[in-house]
């Protein structure tokens, strides 16, 4: 059972209250008309699947119904931080900063 701290409600709640919404910080294409099939495929279907630190979006569906981001370890399931949409994570994997 994960416990997530909702940065909007400012409360630590159990995972049942939330929905996982996949990888965070995916940027919607600015000019969709000009995208190639490769770029569309990458945007729609290809996700990071790291063993270790992962930034992901969660939805507080049974609470404030707002989206926020979580930095979580996909092996230990430690949650390092939760932060609001638009903010940048404080904890990042080594390869991300390289």
């Amino acid at each position: 059972m994960l416990h997530l701290f909702c940065p909007y409600c400012q409360e630590l709640r159990e995972e049942d209250e939330f929905h996982y919404r996949g990888q965070a910080h995916i940027v919607r294409p600015k000019d969709p008309e000009s995208l190639s099939d490769k770029e569309w495929g990458d945007y729609l279907f290809f996700r990071h699947n790291p063993k270790g630190i992962h930034h992901e979006m969660w939805y507080h569906v049974s609470g404030c119904r707002r989206f926020f981001n979580v930095t979580r370890n996909t092996v230990t399931y430690d949650i390092y931080e939760t932060y609001k949409i638009g903010e940048t994570p404080a904890v990042t994997a080594k390869e991300e900063t390289e």
Partner: protein, 416 residues
């Protein structure tokens, strides 16, 4: 390799079964192989077997970081069926189903294939419409299937609560009589033994830490036991596929999730078929040992932890208790998780890659066990000929850029 038979059993009984030959060798790695298969689970071992048997390529190594069949092959709920909706998937899984039917004889190893039938329950009108559509599609593809009403379901499975008192009453089901179960460990061991006897080297406790390339093409794998050269490298590593892809700078359209299952204490025979329900999300069969084998869902979030979250298993056991009120007081013996590699369309990837000599067989997600022989068979062809087997062609990784997805979320059994 001495053959197993009733006579060999009798012969060894005379020496108190103390002189049986080792089931496979434990060789030291050669310097060079024609093909190195990464991953010693069912699919990898089946690939090695069919490479040797059907394509005459015997200079093959299966490289496994743990022990053979110790990953998802050991963790699944052993269900076999081929009632998939779309032609591409139906043909692939039916190919596998036909191999299951003769597999014990082919391998000279009892994989305990038991065609005890699979029920997929419908609990509401939309379920029943989907079931009718799927059964019709199956029959058009030559796959057996029937639509049953609640009374017929009750006749097949008296244990199931088919009354209208249930929280989500059973309205009917699809029935695939040729479906059933097989013994998961025996499948891995049978393929391993048969591959080994054809000359394949099974290298256990050998972990791949890198894939080496020369002028763009693959030339071997770096392992914890040193470099092993290979003309072709085939990755069959389920939940760890993304990690291998990363070694060559590739991304796969795969996310790894824990999928849970559990077994009860052994009890007397009460269930002689496989019952699955997508709507309430639980499925159950009874092993020959008497354990109730129960499959749960995947965690919604990605993870490599080989354990699932409690709400998921709680949800499934609640559904099981609703479906089978008689088993409410049965205790669970063990629960575990395995890391499954889910794709956006719930169909596998059996594919060449843009890197010459590198092949991937992954993305089986929550339903790979039933495909073990078929997957190995078509993948061996793909590797040997360096072009996809006709049945594997639609499952190329290119489909995620061309848009030719094969959406099998309905038939895949586990929602994800």
């Amino acid at each position: 390799m001495s053959r197993y038979s009733v006579f060999s059993l009798f012969k060894h009984a005379l020496s108190h079964h103390e002189n049986w030959q080792k089931v496979w060798r434990n060789p030291t790695p050669k310097d060079v192989y024609d093909v190195v298969i990464i991953g010693g689970g069912g699919h990898g071992l089946a690939t090695a077997y069919y490479l040797a048997k059907e394509h005459g390529i015997t200079n093959v190594a299966v490289v496994e970081k743990g022990y053979l069949g110790g990953g998802n092959t050991a963790r699944n709920t052993t269900i076999l069926r081929s009632n998939y909706l779309w032609d591409e998937a139906a043909h692939l899984f039916e190919h596998s189903m036909k191999l299951w039917e003769g597999l014990s004889q082919d391998l000279n190893y009892n994989v305990m294939y038991s065609p005890r039938g699979v029920l997929n329950l419908g609990h509401n009108l939309q379920d029943m419409r989907d079931i009718e559509r799927r059964v019709n599609a199956n029959r058009l593809n030559g796959i057996d299937g029937e639509v049953l009403n609640a009374k017929q379901v009750k006749d097949i499975c008296p244990l199931l609560d088919c009354s209208d008192r249930a929280r989500y009453p059973v309205l009917g089901a699809s029935w695939q009589a040729r479906g059933g179960v097989a013994r998961h460990d025996a499948v891995a061991w049978g393929f391993a033994r048969a591959a080994d006897s054809l000359g394949v080297d099974l290298l256990q406790q050998t972990e791949v830490i890198g894939i080496r390339r020369h002028e763009g093409a693959v030339c071997g794998v770096e392992t914890n036991r040193g470099f092993i050269a290979a003309k072709k490298v085939a990755c069959v590593t389920a939940g760890s596929s993304s990690l291998l892809a990363k070694m060559v700078g590739m991304e796969l359209p795969i996310e790894s999730h824990p999928l849970q299952a559990c077994v009860s204490e052994p009890i007397k025979p009460i269930l002689d078929t496989v019952v699955m329900s997508n709507a309430v999300h639980g499925y159950m069969s009874q092993s020959d040992k008497g354990d109730l084998v129960i499959g749960a869902g995947i965690d919604s979030y990605t993870g490599y932890g080989q354990r699932g979250s409690f709400p998921v298993i709680e949800h499934t056991l609640a559904a099981i208790c609703e479906m089978f009120p008689d088993v409410r007081r049965v205790r669970m013996n063990r629960a575990w998780g395995g890391i499954v590699d889910t794709t956006p369309d719930a169909s596998p990837i059996i594919s060449k890659t843009h890197i010459p000599g590198l092949y991937f067989n992954c993305g089986w997600g929550t339903g790979g066990f039933k495909a073990t022989p078929g997957s190995g068979n078509v993948f061996a062809h793909t590797i040997a000929k360096d072009e996809p087997h006709p049945l594997a062609k639609p499952f190329s990784i290119d489909r995620f850029h061309s848009g030719h997805l094969i959406d099998e979320h309905g038939a895949a059994g586990v929602a994800h």
